[in-house]
């Protein structure tokens, strides 16, 4: 077996790397304290252009997520641990058999924006160059496919024309479908800081929800979901009417303006009708139009609210049309800027990791296929588009795809119509999953699992939303038998007989080849392509190791910060294309049976399917349970009280979640977070509900627009169990697991709570302290039990109707104390004595609770979030909680 020969990290010093989470791509300086115990101190890297030292709550807590807990450390076949050679032989054998019997299109790879560019490159090369199928798609399909498609339609290439600095330089910043405050917190902090410096800078937030991002908004447009393209059609018409378009730019650098304007105008009758269709107040719409038309330095930044839509690509083009029409593109403080969701969605796009891309920003034209084939030295090139995510899993279901290899992602949770994904995977003859976590909803359905290196152990590059390529470096040596994804892939490639093409000794080797391909025949004689880092093809291992972050394209050794301000698009005639955007209603609209619209998204302190953030007690405190946010008016008509459980049903499935009344919701629309899975919840995941409708161009699923209905979830009991040990429950309808400092917390509801086997087990092993409050009529109003052993609380069970009003944080803290039985029995009160209750944690960085903040604000008559920071430090590190602190101040005033 070949030995992984990646450069061994030097543990004696601090290591500069890149954050594992969102597409901002913040630089991190990691001070490895104990490489064996995986103890590391994480700080923002002061000289990284993405964050200049800042970090958000998630990034700050990375050190809490790198333990070996829950790690997949050995290859396994059907649950049995095997050596690498056996696992790789088995994967290869099945791959060969599948190809021989059913052809290359019966094979699919499904990757992830969490893979490094080098991993991605090898996967893509193997699939599209040597297996000979383009069935390589990734979870970026769920994330940025609409932007990719929109940018390609307009620019001829998937190019982000602007840079983060422009967010700060803009006089008008429009955030569309982006809860930047939570999803790209460091950019939000940069914007906030600039707005404080330049109060004349205007921020417009276009989002159906009044998110925390609205904290800095001068104008919020609570738009009806699915009508963004219509709004920007309206804006284009307005700009033309006001004469604030840039005719010289349009004439010199673009095509099809007239046709697009005509289509835009035809999509609404008048501005009053347009406002009504968008669910907006007409004055608000005019205010927005007026600001756009009169502000030269305008940046429009967008995220999943735009992309995850059945009209996502049109939304992107409707936005870009307005920027092309005003010539506001690629200029300092002016241009369209897509904010990517994942740390390396951009890197994946660069290597061609999507099924409709070939490689290095080349597609499936005969010339491109020929060029890439010559570069790779293969004759087995994929010749047509592969299956995109939703279609890919459907093809598995019908038996057309029989071999699936999932890398670093959890489609059972993240894909729409989750039940159909499970059904498909159960049918699929071979499911291979490479992951760093042993138990996920997807590994549960895999015959072969391969231990891939996690963030803290892998080495390569990632690209952020502003085309900046940064090094990600290993903090620790590979744990157990884990290996980098690229190594696993090359081992299979070699077994398939492609040793020469996959003879990579380390990630630098791969990077050089990737760079070389980007520059290969990238000239007027071939075809000029935007993605070009060809000059990096000859860097040494040492240069790669010490490579500083840079933006592509690199032309004549110079990074290009901005593109397109003077044209030079990557179309045949180098002119941008206005894309007519015929506005249509969202594919799936509400109806009598499913009268509410379900939106989905992130919460502040969790990432994707929580395999990492769920390990951090700190991060679990901000939002600890899956929930359904609903406007109080709707809640009233559905008889849903705050904090009760409710069953959410769509045509595709059901979920049970906690009701959260929220004035931030539009009436008629509800919201659920996307993070919870079967590993930490019995019924609180939203993927099973979401409709599998996709955008016709980008094939990106419409994750934010599913008609649902609600009903109260009536149940016999409701309780919360704190335990030092991890537990599992069967026959309980509602279970949510929350990691805490000293163990686990389980929120439980449904039947069988009076007969939990975990409790009788505790009874046998530990001293039992019991509180019972029996009311006449009902058996128990409350029953609380604490188990004690060796002066340590072992478990606490709070059973009662409704969400028990116990102070979870306080009870969790009780596990850290050495106590007598008399001290311990007071814990059963569920709330601390006197005024020590800190309340729900607001500031995750300094662990400051809501009640502490409110007390401090009241006692000292504070008016500003910064003042709270002076007293409590809250909000002074990552600042993510500043909007909440402001809301608390406002609520007190």
């Amino acid at each position: 077996m070949a030995v992984c020969a990646s450069v061994k990290p030097d543990f004696s010093k601090t290591i500069n790397t890149t954050c594992a989470y969102c597409g901002v791509g913040c630089g991190i300086t990691a001070n490895v304290i104990d490489p064996d115990l995986h103890v590391v101190e994480i700080k923002g890297r002061e000289d990284h252009p993405a964050n200049y030292g800042r970090l958000c709550s998630k990034g700050s807590a990375l050190g809490e997520t790198v333990s070996l807990e829950g790690r997949l450390l050995h290859p396994k076949i059907h649950g049995k641990t095997v050596v690498w050679s056996e696992a790789l032989d088995e994967v290869t054998r099945r791959l060969q058999e599948t190809i021989e019997q059913y052809g290359p299109d019966a094979v699919a790879l499904y990757g992830s924006g969490q893979l490094l560019t080098e991993d991605y490159y090898v996967a893509n090369k193997l699939m599209k160059g040597f297996i000979g199928s383009a069935n390589m798609d990734t979870n970026s399909r769920l994330c940025m496919a609409s932007t990719v498609a929109g940018q390609k339609r307009a620019f001829g290439s998937d190019t982000v024309p602007n840079t983060y600095q422009d967010l700060e330089m803009a006089s008008l910043l429009i955030l569309v479908g982006s809860n930047t405050a939570w999803c790209h917190p460091v950019l939000f902090q940069r914007i906030r800081a600039m707005k404080e410096q330049r109060p004349e800078m205007k921020v417009v937030v276009i989002d159906p929800r009044k998110t925390d991002t609205c904290d800095i908004a001068d104008l919020h447009l609570p738009i009806r979901p699915g009508t963004d393209a219509l709004l920007f059609n309206g804006l284009l018409s307005w700009l033309a009417e006001q004469g604030t378009i840039d005719l010289p730019y349009i004439e010199k650098h673009t095509n099809d303006f007239g046709q697009s304007l005509e289509v835009a105008r035809a999509s609404f009758r008048d501005y009053s009708q347009l406002s009504e269709l968008c669910g907006l107040d007409q004055d608000t719409v005019f205010q927005f139009f007026h600001w756009f038309s009169t502000t030269e330095k305008t940046v429009t930044a967008w995220s999943q609210g735009v992309n995850q839509s059945s009209s996502g690509t049109d939304k992107v083009n409707a936005i870009i049309n307005c920027h092309l029409a005003t010539g506001r593109i690629g200029l300092p403080g002016s241009g369209p800027l897509s904010l990517t969701g994942q740390p390396n969605a951009m890197g994946g796009r660069e290597v061609g990791g999507l099924a409709n891309q070939l490689a290095a920003h080349m597609d499936f034209s005969p010339e491109d296929i020929d060029r890439v084939g010559r570069f790779w030295g293969t004759t087995n090139m994929a010749r047509s588009l592969g299956k995109t995510a939703v279609d890919l899993f459907r093809a598995i279901d019908r038996g057309a795809i029989r071999f699936l290899w999932v890398m670093g992602t959890n489609p059972v949770v993240s894909m729409p119509d989750g039940k159909s994904i499970i059904k498909a995977l159960k049918k699929c003859p071979t499911v291979v999953v490479s992951d760093c976590i042993e138990k996920t909803d997807t590994t549960a359905l895999a015959g072969i699992v391969l231990p891939a290196a996690p963030w803290s152990e892998k080495d390569g590059t990632v690209t952020n939303s502003e085309r900046r390529i940064s090094r990600q470096r290993a903090l620790f040596q590979l744990a157990g038998e884990s290996k980098p994804d690229w190594w696993i892939l090359t081992q299979v490639a070699k077994r398939l007989g492609h040793s020469d093409a996959f003879d990579f000794a380390n990630s630098a080797d791969i990077f050089r080849e990737h760079a070389a391909l980007s520059g290969f025949e990238n000239n007027a004689a071939g075809k000029i392509r935007d993605f070009n880092i060809g000059t990096k093809a000859s860097i040494s291992d040492h240069e790669y190791e010490s490579m500083d972050p840079f933006q592509w394209p690199v032309i004549e050794d110079k990074s290009q910060q901005r593109l397109f301000s003077t044209g030079g698009f990557y179309t045949e005639d180098r002119r941008a294309k206005f894309v007519p955007t015929h506005w249509q209603k969202a594919a799936n609209s509400i109806n009598a049976e499913y009268p509410l619209l379900l939106n989905t998204g992130r919460v502040r302190d969790h990432w994707h399917t929580m395999t990492r953030t769920g390990l951090s007690p700190r991060l679990n405190q901000h939002t600890d349970e899956p929930f359904l946010a609903i406007h109080p008016e709707d809640a009233g008509s559905w008889q849903l009280q705050d904090q009760m459980l409710c069953k959410v049903s769509s045509e595709f499935g059901d979920a049970i979640v906690r009701v959260k009344h929220s004035e931030a919701q539009r009436v008629g629309e509800v919201f659920m977070p996307m993070h919870w899975t079967r590993q930490n919840s019995q019924s609180g995941f939203c993927g099973v509900l979401v409709n599998p409708v996709v955008d016709p161009v980008s094939k990106q699923p419409d994750l934010k627009h599913t008609p649902v209905k609600l009903e109260p979830f009536y149940h016999t009991g409701n309780g919360v169990l704190f335990s030092r040990e991890q537990l599992s429950f069967t026959g309980v309808e509602y279970v949510t697991e929350v990691r805490s400092e000293q163990g686990f917390r389980y929120e439980l509801a449904g039947s069988g709570l009076d007969n939990l086997s975990a409790l009788s087990d505790f009874n046998k092993r530990f001293e039992k302290i019991e509180y019972v409050d029996a009311k006449s009529g009902s058996q128990y109003d409350g029953c609380r039990v604490l188990w004690l052993d060796q002066h340590q609380v072992q478990a606490i069970w709070m059973f009662g109707e409704g969400r028990s009003a116990c102070d979870r944080q306080w009870l969790q803290s009780c596990f850290g104390k050495s106590v007598t039985a008399l001290e311990a029995w007071y814990f059963l009160s569920g709330t601390p004595p006197k005024g020590e209750d800190a309340g729900r944690q607001v500031c995750a960085c300094f662990g400051v609770g809501e009640k502490t903040i409110c007390r401090t604000v009241r006692d000292n008559n504070l008016r500003e979030a910064a003042e709270v920071g002076e007293y409590l430090k809250a909000g002074t590190n990552c600042g993510s909680c500043v909007p909440e602190i402001r809301q608390l101040i406002a609520s007190i005033e």
Binding site: E767, I769, E770, D773, G782, A821, L828, P833
Partner: protein, 409 residues
């Protein structure tokens, strides 16, 4: 200076002495006071007899007032046969004692206390079968070299007696007809905890036992025959409750039932005679009250004194008195109806391995009964909530954990 009216007090127990204190509280007293006591000593704290038995305290430590005090106040104290009243002549307003002395009175106060119950089984007259009521009883228990002792009765007195004797090195078994000890003050859960504690200190229990007879040799007890069991014993202490000591009252024709009948001002059917303490039975609205705890008896003393001194006509109002005591070092607090009725609601906090237990009986959002065992913090707060009939529903969730857990007002 005219002659003072004569006041005769029969009884020099804790109630009687408290009455004297009240009468002389302001230095002088408008009566010529005579105190007659059948016991040989001056008044002592009967509650502390257990400690004396256990050797934790000496005789001086339990004395209420020294003889000198009586002399200084001019109180005539007669004890033993001189003080043991055998007859009250209400017509002559005169009492006579065993030794033949007679005392006239203008006002008479009866504070005769109570007599321990006996259990009428064969052998009850044997030597070594005795009660635990007086200083003399304590002395008798400690005389002789008893190795095996049986205590009949698992009430507070029986437990304290057994505990004292165990500490004196004797092997003690408590025979009780109830399933758990102190059934009046504790429910079965708390009783079980107490039994475990006492067993761990060497006291043995025969619960739900039926006493058949005391066996004797040469007129002295040698064992206790139970149904299905036999316990050898050279000393048998019977703690089977007490009854008001009203032989004198009955004989002189004062209206009596279980005790001598008094109104809420402690007046008997004879205007010249008042009665107080454990010997009385008070008709109070539709209830008939007897008194066994020291607090209401002290209240009796105050009322009687106020009447004798011609002050305000105070009347007795019964208030639930909590049991708030230590049983062999274990804190116990109980009050009200702690054994729930069908319609009651019960809150409990139970840590049996650590000998902690807490219980509230609630009805219509009011506390009806309290029982605290092992830790009695907040007992008085519950008592107050119960006495004031406070609606506890606003803090029901925190109630059992005590006042400091209440949400801030």
């Amino acid at each position: 200076m005219g002659e003072k009216p004569k006041l005769v007090v029969i009884g020099n127990g804790m109630g009687g002495v408290r009455l004297l204190e009240q009468l002389f509280a302001k230095g002088s007293c408008p009566f010529e006071v005579t105190v007659l006591s059948a016991e040989d000593s001056t008044g002592y704290n009967r509650i502390q007899l257990s400690k004396l038995l256990a050797g934790a305290i000496d005789l001086d430590g339990i004395q209420l007032k020294p003889l000198q005090w009586y002399q200084e106040q001019g109180i005539k104290l007669f004890t033993g046969e001189d003080g043991q009243v055998v007859n009250i002549d209400r017509d002559l307003k005169q009492v006579s004692t065993q030794s033949g002395k007679t005392f006239s009175y203008d006002r008479l106060v009866l504070a005769t206390g109570s007599q321990p119950n006996r259990i009428p089984v064969p052998g009850a007259d044997l030597k070594g079968v005795m009660s635990f009521r007086t200083l003399q009883d304590v002395n008798r228990m400690l005389e002789g070299n008893h190795q095996y002792v049986v205590v009949i009765g698992g009430g507070l007195l029986g437990l304290e007696c057994a505990s004292g004797l165990v500490q004196r090195g004797m092997s003690v078994t408590i025979v009780d007809n109830m399933p758990t000890p102190m059934a009046r003050q504790l429910d079965s859960d708390a009783g079980l905890l107490l039994r475990q504690t006492l067993e761990s200190r060497g006291i043995q229990f025969r619960s739900q036992a039926r006493l058949k007879s005391y066996d004797g040799v040469d007129g002295h007890v040698c064992g206790v025959q139970l149904e299905g069991d036999y316990l050898p014993a050279s000393l048998v202490i019977v703690t089977a409750g007490v009854r008001p000591d009203i032989d004198l009252m009955k004989a002189c024709g004062l209206k009596s039932q279980r005790g001598v009948l008094v109104n809420d001002q402690l007046q008997t059917s004879d205007p010249a005679i008042m009665a107080m303490g454990e010997c009385v039975e008070m008709q109070y609205s539709d209830q008939s009250l007897l008194f066994g705890l020291v607090a209401p008896v002290y209240r009796h003393a105050e009322i009687v004194a106020s009447h004798l001194l011609g002050g305000s006509r105070e009347a007795f109002v019964p208030v639930p008195i909590p049991t708030n005591l230590k049983v062999d070092g274990v804190d116990v607090f109980s009050s009200g109806e702690f054994n729930p009725a069908e319609s009651d609601e019960v809150s409990t906090l139970h840590a049996p391995d650590s000998q902690l237990y807490r219980k509230l009986v609630i009805n219509n959002n009011r506390i009806k009964g309290v029982l605290l065992y092992g830790d009695v913090t907040d007992g008085l707060w519950y008592q107050e909530l119960m006495a004031s009939s406070t609606d506890i529903s606003p803090f029901r969730q925190q109630l059992l954990f005590g006042q400091r857990f209440l949400p801030a007002a």
